[in-house]
């Protein structure tokens, strides 16, 4: 049997402290080549800090990270030469037009001018920005800006693409446009690290993911496996119920979670439970659906607000 290919990202016991605050508290990650790896977690979980350490711009307090076999602390330039970074906050250069943004960025990678022009035009085409090539940045919509940030991240043909919340604030069209490109890149062999708050996005794009909270990894696996491991196959959501229902659920020993205005009932036999309940109660305000990554996420990280 051939040896497994070396990982694209290998993080060992990584700790990051800001003064007394421990932002990342000893995480281990292994990202094999060619996959889309998700980094999920509520605000303040340490996702962006982790990405910035992988990116070689934030020094580690402890531990080690290797990217494509290179040490991020000692070989920062070589690491960064092979990365594409799509940051959370748009940092396009407002002093230049769309196309010029790509050309100026190419210079930072020392890409020869002719090749940079060819590559910029290809990328504008790939991200449907050709018509906007000579527009100033301020005239772009939010979706166009995100697409341009992605185009810029691809200017150096990166082997690893870091996407930090690439679709936050986008309309559905904008989001699907980004997803489609990310899938195409994955098919072409680019390894992708994605952080997101959207569970649907993670389920759509990620082969493997980890859920982080308070700087630690609290769960990992494929989206399907996480769902089957941590929640049930089916979930019955009820948002209007007759008085006897909660007591009945309890008497059956079913796993239910009750919020102020909603009950979540976790079960592997959704149909049977639904039939049983409809035969006893008026059930016109309920929804039977599959368990999702969002259920896993809320179950593991709780429903408290993080601000």
């Amino acid at each position: 049997m051939p040896a497994p290919p070396p990982p694209v990202i290998e993080a060992r016991s990584v700790v990051k402290r800001f003064g007394d605050i421990v932002a990342v508290d000893g995480i281990d990650l292994t990202v094999p080549p060619g996959i889309c790896f998700g980094l999920l977690g509520p605000n303040g979980a340490g996702k962006t800090t982790t990405v910035r350490m992988i990116q070689s711009v934030s020094p580690l307090s402890q531990g080690a990270i290797r990217v494509l076999g290179l040490d991020v602390a000692r070989q920062a330039r070589q690491v960064k030469a092979q990365l594409g970074v799509c940051p959370q906050e748009d940092n396009l250069d407002p002093d230049f037009t769309v196309r010029r943004n790509l050309l100026v960025y190419a210079r930072y990678f020392r890409i020869p001018a002719g090749e940079a022009r060819r590559r910029a035009d290809e990328l504008l085409e790939f991200l449907q920005l050709t018509e906007k090539a000579s527009a100033p940045i301020r005239e772009l919509s939010g979706g166009m800006k995100r697409r341009l940030v992605l185009a810029r991240a691809l200017i150096n043909n990166p082997r690893l693409l870091l996407l930090d919340e690439p679709t936050t604030g986008l309309d559905p069209q904008g989001r699907h446009a980004i997803w489609q490109r990310v899938r195409a890149l994955k098919r072409a062999g680019t390894t992708i690290l994605l952080t997101t708050h959207y569970m649907e996005e993670a389920a759509q794009l990620c082969d493997t993911l980890v859920i982080m909270d308070h700087g630690r990894v609290i769960a990992s696996g494929s989206p399907e496996r996480l769902v089957s491991e941590h929640v049930s196959r089916d979930v019955l959501e009820i948002w209007g119920w007759e008085d006897g229902l909660p007591a009945f659920l309890e008497s059956q020993g079913w796993e239910a979670e009750r919020l102020a205005d909603r009950i979540f009932l976790y079960t592997d036999q959704g149909d049977a439970v639904y039939r049983e309940l409809t035969s006893r109660f008026r059930m016109d305000q309920c929804l039977l659906r599959r368990g999702t990554l969002e259920d896993v996420f809320l179950k593991l990280t709780g429903r408290d607000l993080r601000e």
Binding site: S58, Q78, P87
Partner: protein
């Protein structure tokens, strides 16, 4: 993550490209500024002042003032470039964040910015030299020494501006270094009157300020006095510039490497 390289030139080119976009409006101020000052102070006020004695020479006030204006412009253009210009790029535009995601280090970015600030000082002094030369207030070819010196002084003042950028939490805080350091230099470093006119203690203080040495150098070469006495201002500017340059790098690392 530390250390700078020739890659810093890519940052310099970025800033230069932005400058070229609006080259026409960038060209006007250094042409107008000396003219306005010379009409107001050299002409109107100079008539009241008469001759100014400087290092054994009797100069008309316009002759005295013109080189001082070049020195002041070297300071202002370099300081304000790394003060407001760099701060806007760092804080509001997040341009530094975008660049450090490429093979460039933070040090490369800061060095590129300082180089650009110094370049602006060279450009502005070249343009002013032409204007002042046409007015017959600069002696050729001696005054051409202003150009290499403006690069050196530009590096000093751009580094100084970068130090302020590194320590000011917001753009409003710039008033403090501007009114406590930059403006006093403008007024007391031999721009409008010879430093020798100051009382003893103030003359000592003025002697410690970088602009005093810049205006001494510029005035001397504009009067055609190219001699060994120029080594004083050159060595002072190189030494202080060197210290401020490393300080700017250290302070920016402290601010941005997290």
């Amino acid at each position: 993550m530390r250390g700078f390289s020739w890659r810093a030139v890519a940052v310099w080119r970025r800033d230069f490209d932005v400058y070229l976009k609006t080259w026409w409006t960038n060209l006007l101020p250094p042409i107008l500024e000396p003219l306005l000052y010379l009409v107001a102070f050299g002409g109107a006020m100079g008539g009241m002042i008469g001759q100014v004695g400087w290092r054994g020479a009797n100069l008309s006030y316009a002759q005295f003032l013109a080189p001082g204006l070049i020195a002041v412009s070297i300071m202002f253009w370099a300081v304000f470039e790394t003060l407001y210009g760099s701060f806007v790029r760092m804080y509001y535009q997040k341009t530094f964040d975008a660049i450090v995601a490429t093979p460039l280090s933070l040090d490369d970015v800061i060095v590129g910015e300082i180089l650009w600030g110094a370049t602006k000082a060279v450009l502005v002094s070249a343009i002013m030299l032409v204007v002042i030369g046409i007015l017959g207030l600069a002696s050729f070819p001696g005054c051409l020494w202003v150009l290499p010196f403006s690069l050196l002084a530009g590096l000093l003042f751009a580094s100084l501006g970068m130090c302020f950028t590194a320590i000011c939490p917001t753009i409003d805080a710039f008033n403090l270094p501007i009114f406590s350091i930059v403006f006093p230099m403008f007024l007391f470093s031999g721009t409008f009157f010879p430093v020798e006119r100051l009382p003893g203690w103030a003359r000592m203080l003025a002697g410690a300020l970088p602009l005093t040495h810049t205006s001494t150098f510029v005035r001397a070469v504009c009067l055609g006095r190219v001699d060994a006495a120029l080594w004083g201002p050159v060595l002072y500017t190189a030494g202080v510039g060197f210290v401020l340059f490393w300080l700017a790098l250290a302070l920016m690392r402290r601010r941005l490497v997290r």
